[in-house]
Symmetry: C2
Subunit: 458 residues, 2 copies
């Protein structure tokens, strides 16, 4: 019997036959092949039902030196959950369900495999808000959201996933169960260990349970789209809104090229604002339309805003958001090479300029579009590979963009993580000393290196 | 020449004679003796001027196995910076100054020895807010605030110190300088190493520099004091205010005993509200007085509020806050034994009840008063040692209180940290497995155990 067969036998004895799948029994979504990094069907797929089974599986794999790839909803954009042929995949999907909503504490205790949308709905039914929101809400799982420290549109107001997690239960590589469940906002009792696991992309432990922080429900919202003369105006307008009306629920910036593309894909022919302005800001505010009008008048008088439209109805607000949501059409209408980077907020305008100039100099006639959550220091840019020489020089484009990011003290990953796709670019944002300390941490918590090998800095 | 003398010689060569003090040359505040844990004059006091000197000092001490106690403004309440006779103290006070304010990014880069109040003032001068605020603002240093993850009154709105730190520079035990300076809100590039050092009380590294997150300046504020029928009403009122007016800037709860004490120490004889209500909530809101009036009318109609006063002027608001600030008088008017604990928000009322009952049963006639930042799950309670048998059975009182905390899944330290004073009670809030992992972290980052030995779990 091979080493692997012996491991599988032990796993079957611990978890039951039905929780250990191999070969064709594994649903292909567990080895999704959207990444160019040669994913493979894993050696097996484990489907534990509870923390004890996760613990048993890790103990066995650790003793036998068998690599494991923790998996959530498989919606990550950096390949962090993609297995190799020699790995065993560990899906949390059966660790599913909301265990408690504590309305006094404004917390929700959930199992790692619970889908984000279900959590949002349960919070709303309790008269509260779980503010994390992203396009994959219907299929992503909270465990994956936490393991990747997911971002999204509401970060400007509510923070990253890290800011929404009060407590965790984590299974360590050797099977020890670490109870870090906690409902308190203030708790200074030694090292805040949960921080090690948030955003560690499954390389330090397997998250099995979480205590989430809920927010008061948002009230009515006003939505506006503004045309701006330049990037400095976008920052000035954001700061004005924050001072006058409180931090908006979302503040999205679209460069002219992105706006034109988004508008051209709308079903109506009428753009809400003319298409020849340099930049467009789209935002939601808790202020009344009157207060918003007032604030925008001031911005108009000071030259920060050239033109603006305030949505008169929810339908109109949705219509404005459709322009920003053109990204959902990218896979259908472009061959998109998407970037998720961050920079100090004041430098994003210069970065976009520099990046575009270098792309144009290297590949004349290429099409790149720019947009992002600039209040969070987050810029997205997409290069249409159809506009590049064929086959598209993807690695060269990535190197060009990430080099510019490194030059301007930015980050090669704002909210998507590193996974497989950005390992080779990590050095643009992380110093050798920091990398060394990350390896020390990894060695301390997973000395045999069984958890998600080949990801992050590995 | 003794081992210590040899070490001091190396340190003098590296830092200069003027930066290595011994004996009577050491200002007594570096071995403050307010704690009962027998502090001593340290073997030496180091006063490095820059990161390179901190690095040199740590490299020398690490090579020679010499223990070091990092020190900020010496205002901590858990003895985390108190040296033993065999330790060398390392004060950051000469690493002082604001290096940059980036108004576009809304960040400030500071050296660790900068006083909190100076940072607050500089932020205000730049039209922004650094929201961390505590009584020791005039003497505490930001490095110490970060090393202890300090709290304060504004946590409910802006979070703990952890939530206000975007980047750090840290010197590791072996002298390596870790550059984790970062201005971005979103940055998912591997483990978020800075989290390891925030709140680690100087046991994992020495913080030398920080990038702080600034907030928009707060607008006008309304202040109100409300009398409440019971603890459930205090939670309901908080949630109502959050829904209706946004999260208040502060939300302080005072139990009747505390309120009476605070009022009795006012210079005026007139209590703003009668003294026979069970609880009093004091809060600041960004809402107008009219909006606040409206919200309170609803609370009154629903029985959450029995009586209320809204400050008609800033002077009146200050007068209301003086009642809560009676804590400043504790050292002069009581022999206070102060507690800083946290509990799930819904359980704080029951905890106060249980705690008082047990104290009264054990020491009839003792006086304990209760108050706290309940929106942050933080309760303070103070026992007047004069009301206990003499000599006051301090350890027994502590064991009683912390046992009750542990029973109700609370934390023995909300915002003060563990330091020396709470080491023996840590087990009430931290599991053996978590403690084990903390030790693993410590061993990975400070294998020779030179940083602040004898603190936290050591």
């Amino acid at each position: 019997m091979s080493e692997l067969e012996q491991t599988l036998q032990l796993l079957r004895a611990a978890l039951g036959d039905a929780a250990v799948l191999t070969g064709a029994a594994i649903n292909p979504r567990h080895h999704s092949d959207w990444t160019r990094h040669a994913p493979a069907c894993p050696a097996a797929l484990l489907l534990p039902r509870d923390t004890a089974q996760v613990s048993a599986a890790l103990r066995i794999c650790n003793e036998r030196g068998q690599s494991l790839v923790p998996q959530g909803g498989m919606t990550g954009l950096a390949g962090g959950a993609v297995p190799r042929a020699q790995d065993i995949a560990l899906s949390l999907e059966r660790l599913d369900g909301i265990e408690e909503i504590d309305t006094a504490a404004a917390t929700m205790t959930v199992r790692a495999g619970t889908r984000l949308e279900r959590i949002q709905q349960a919070a709303a039914e309790a008269g509260l808000l779980f503010p994390l929101d992203l396009g994959a809400r219907g299929s992503c799982q909270i465990g994956g959201n936490i393991a990747t420290n997911a971002g999204g549109n509401a970060v400007i107001r509510y923070g990253m996933t890290r800011d929404l997690v009060l407590g965790l239960e984590v299974v360590l590589a050797d099977g020890r169960v670490l109870n870090l469940l906690n409902k308190m906002i203030k708790n200074n009792t030694g090292y805040d260990l949960k921080q090690c696991f948030i955003g560690s992309e499954g390389t330090l432990g397997v998250i099995t349970r979480a205590v989430l922080k809920l927010a008061p429900p948002p009230g009515a919202q006003s939505t506006a789209l503004c045309a701006l003369p330049d990037y400095a105006a976008a920052v000035a307008l954001l700061r004005r809104l924050q001072r006058r009306l409180g931090t908006p629920q979302a503040y999205e910036l679209m460069w002219q090229d992105f706006y034109r593309l988004g508008v051209s894909w709308l079903e109506t022919t009428q753009a809400p604002l003319a298409e020849d302005y340099p930049l467009y800001a789209l935002f939601d505010s808790a202020a009344t339309a009157e207060a918003l009008q007032d604030a925008l008048q001031g911005a108009f008088d000071d030259g920060e805003v050239i033109d603006a439209v305030i949505a008169g109805s929810q339908a109109q607000a949705r219509q404005l958001w459709k322009i920003r949501e053109a990204t959902g059409e990218f896979p259908n209408r472009l061959q998109p090479l998407n970037f998720d980077v961050s920079l100090p907020i004041g430098r994003i305008g210069d970065f976009a300029e520099r990046c575009r100039q270098r792309l144009d100099a290297r590949w004349p006639g290429n099409r790149s579009v720019y947009f992002g959550h600039i209040g969070d220091s987050n810029l997205h840019l997409t290069v249409d590979c159809r506009s590049l020489p064929q086959p598209a020089p993807i690695l060269e484009v990535e190197e060009l963009v990430y080099t510019a990011v490194g030059e301007m003290a930015g980050s090669v990953s704002a909210e998507h993580g590193i996974g497989l796709l950005k390992r080779e670019f990590l050095h643009h944002s992380v110093s050798p000393e920091a990398l060394q300390v990350m390896r020390q941490l990894k060695l301390a918590l997973d000395p045999r290196g069984i958890l998600n090998p080949g990801k992050l800095f590995d």
